[in-house]
Symmetry: C2
Subunit: 171 residues, 2 copies
């Protein structure tokens, strides 16, 4: 069962933040900043408000949000130390089943990405499969830093939308 | 942030069940049966009601609840296919770091336990460490089936209490 939007519009800020907690990885401040603007008429309106809060955040906060994301096929994934959402998404993309060669390739590209941009490679794993992600990574690696920052935040918005639509139902 | 008990007392049944969803592994029916008896004065009262709903359930439902639990150090854990709660609890018990010999011992004991009782070995992993669990398993294996059924349900109650107290705050 999912949580109802009408309830989400009515509960305390603390409970609202608790329900929205997983939408933006390790970043409850996003939900905190939109609690006051309730009620939201539908899930899209809530999602737009959350993304607007990210857009309005400081450069440091945006960087912190991006850095809250785990590497794909990274050490946290290997340790089983992902949020439940990330674990499910990486599995859906086929990233739970990787060959040693693929793992080595991910590690190498992830390291190059971090070294170039100062934050991890973020992609909406549920909208992409392993092969596409592996093909995309070198292309993204060639982008300008300001372009990658924008893409990372857009991907985070897509991730949040899928998580929100899973957790919340209208009505 | 945690969800507030006062909000839990006020929201729709669907949202109440969504918040309580993870307390009893894959068994939303437990929360469904106590939603009507709100409001609860404190978290203990809610927990007692949930456990009473389990006690009042049919023998088939109780068996289904126990069977919803993953084996410790089992195949689901290895596949990364646990609920987030189970994954966290098994990790807290030190079960994410097991030697091949320990894994083999768990698999052997788990299989013997299933064969004898018809349900998996359930223990509140957050209250026990790997060595204690491995020492306890052969002892529990020697119990009478009706005793193990009672112990399994009691352990499920303890697991649910820790999950509930993590997710819900009074006030």
């Amino acid at each position: 069962m999912s949580f109802k939007l009408s309830d989400l519009n009515a509960i305390s800020t603390a409970s609202f933040v608790a329900v929205c907690d997983g939408f933006f990885e390790h970043s409850p401040w996003v939900a905190e900043r939109v609690a006051l603007f309730r009620p939201y008429g539908d899930r899209d309106a809530l999602h737009r408000a959350l993304c607007a809060a990210v857009d309005a955040a400081s450069a440091e906060e945006k960087l912190g949000l991006i850095r809250s994301h785990p590497d794909l096929v990274g050490e946290a994934a290997q340790r089983g130390d992902l949020t439940s959402e990330s674990a499910r998404e990486q599995t859906a993309a086929g990233l739970a089943q990787v060959s040693p060669a693929e793992t080595a390739r991910f590690r190498e590209l992830n390291a190059a990405y971090w070294a170039r941009f100062g934050f991890p490679f973020v992609i909406c794993a549920r909208e992409n499969k392993k092969d596409v992600i592996l093909a995309t990574l070198p292309i993204r690696l060639a982008n300008a830093p300001e372009v990658e920052l924008r893409i990372a935040l857009d991907e985070i918005g897509k991730i949040a939308k899928l998580r929100l639509f899973d957790a919340i139902e209208e009505g």
